[in-house]
Symmetry: C2
C-alpha cells in the first residue's frame, strides 16, 4: 500500500500551511524531520473522544496544540446562548495561542482525535532558540489568519445557499490538495456545527442543502458526506458573492 502525504502516520507533527514567500525562496518543507522530532520531544500526545473539550474559554492557557489526527472545532458561546464556531481544525493545524495567558475560546473534539500538547513555556523557549522552527510557526499562524479572513468573507454573504456552497468548496479543496477534486466530501461535523460556522440558523442550513440538491449541484449522502454532482456549478455559485 502506497503511503500518501494525506495519510501520513500521526506520530510526528506537521503543518498545513501555504508559505508567504515565493517558490524560489522557499527553503522550508513545512517542518523538517528534525523540527518535528523536536516538537515531539517538547509535547505529549493526547487522545480525545468525540465531544471531549480540550480547553475552555477563560481557562489558563498553558498549552498550544497541534492536531495530529481527527477534527476539532474552536467555538465560543455568546451571552444570548448562540454558539459561534470560529474554525474547524484538521490534521496539521495549530491552535491554542491565547491572549494574556487565557484562552479566548473553547475547543472540542468533533471526531476521535489525537493532539500534540505543547507547554507554552517550553514551546516559546524552543521557538526563540530555533529561528527556522519559529518561522514555520509564523507561516502557520499567518495561514490561519488568512483562513479566518476567508470565513469572514463567507459570513459577509447574505444568501444562505451561497454560504453553504462556499463551505462545501472549502471542505472539498481540503481533501483534494493537489489531487483532482474529490467527488465525495466527508462532513464530520453536525448540521448544527455547520450552522454555527456559517452564522446561520440550523433550519437555513437544511433548506440551503435542499436548494443545492434541487439545483443538481450536490447530493447529500447520509449526514456526514456530500457528493459533488456539478463541481463547476457549485464553484460558480460559491464565487458569486
Amino acid at each position: 500500500m502506497v503511503k500518501s502525504p494525506q495519510s501520513a502516520p500521526a506520530t510526528l507533527p506537521r503543518f498545513r500551511a501555504v508559505p508567504f514567500l515565493t517558490p524560489p525562496t522557499i527553503t522550508t518543507a513545512v517542518l523538517t524531520e528534525r523540527q518535528r522530532r523536536e516538537l515531539m520531544r517538547i509535547g505529549t500526545k493526547v487522545h480525545l473522544t468525540p465531544r471531549t473539550i480540550a480547553y475552555r474559554e477563560g481557562s489558563a492557557a498553558d498549552n498550544a496544540f497541534i492536531v495530529l489526527d481527527g477534527v476539532v472545532k474552536g467555538y465560543r458561546d455568546m451571552p444570548s446562548g448562540r454558539r459561534t464556531v470560529f474554525a474547524f481544525l484538521f490534521s496539521r493545524d495549530l491552535f491554542g495561542l491565547a491572549e494574556r495567558g487565557r484562552y479566548l475560546n473553547s475547543t472540542q473534539a468533533v471526531t476521535q482525535s489525537t493532539l500534540l500538547r505543547l507547554p507554552m513555556r517550553d514551546l516559546a523557549a524552543a521557538l526563540k532558540q530555533d529561528g527556522d522552527l519559529q518561522f514555520e510557526f509564523l507561516t502557520k499562524i499567518t495561514h490561519e489568519l488568512r483562513e479566518s479572513q476567508r470565513r469572514a468573507m463567507l459570513i459577509t454573504r447574505r444568501d444562505a445557499p451561497g454560504r453553504l456552497a462556499m463551505f462545501l468548496m472549502l471542505m472539498a479543496e481540503r481533501v483534494a490538495i493537489g489531487v483532482r477534486p474529490a467527488h465525495v466530501v466527508p462532513l464530520p461535523m453536525s448540521r448544527s456545527d455547520i450552522a454555527a460556522y456559517l452564522g446561520l440558523s440550523l433550519e437555513s442550513v437544511s433548506r440551503s442543502a435542499a436548494v443545492l440538491e434541487h439545483r443538481m449541484l450536490v447530493k447529500f449522502e447520509g449526514r456526514h458526506a456530500v457528493r459533488l454532482i456539478n463541481p463547476e456549478g457549485l464553484a460558480k455559485l460559491a464565487a458569486a458573492v
Copy 2:
C-alpha cells in the same frame, strides 16, 4: 510636555499587541529599542496621502509593512462589485504577509500615513536570526488573528445597530488603552468604509447611527467623530450578541 506612549514619535516602529504568555513570563516590551532600530535598518519609510494604494491584491508580495502613523484599510473587491474591508490598520500594526508571494487583498491609506516598508527577504532573514524579534512578530500576528475573529463575531450579529455599537466600542477602546474611556472617539474612515467593514449597506449604517443617537447612547459630531454619551449602555448593547 510629557511624552505618552500613545504619541511616541513615528520614527521607530512599534507593535500594538497583547502577548499570549502570562504577565510573569513576559520578557518583552513589544519591541526593544534594539529591535526597533534593526527594523529601521532593514526597511524604508513611505509616506502615503489619503486614498493612495500601498499594494493591490494579486501583485507580487515583496514587502511587509508596519504602520508608523496614520490609518490604512485592508480590503477586497468581490466579483459582484461589493467591497469588503477586512481591517483598519492603525499605528503599530503589521500587514502585508501574503500567500505564495502574492498579496491576497489590497491596502489603501485612509488618512495621511507613514509606513515602514520591509523587504520580505531581508525581513525573513532577520527574523530567523533573531529569535526574540521573530517572537514579537509571532505575538503580533496572533494578535491580528484574534482581531480578525472579533470582526467575525461582529459580522455574526444580525442587527445593524448592534454591529455598529460593537464597532464603536472597538474604536473607543483603541484610543483608550489603559486610560479612562475616551469620550470623543475619532472615526477617520468614511461611512462607506464602515459599512464595508460591518458587512452592511451604507444606508443601514446611517440608520443605525440614527438609532444609537435616538437612544441617547452616542452623538455623532461631524462625519469623523462620535461622542459617547452613555458608554455603559453602548457597551451593554455591544455585548448583547
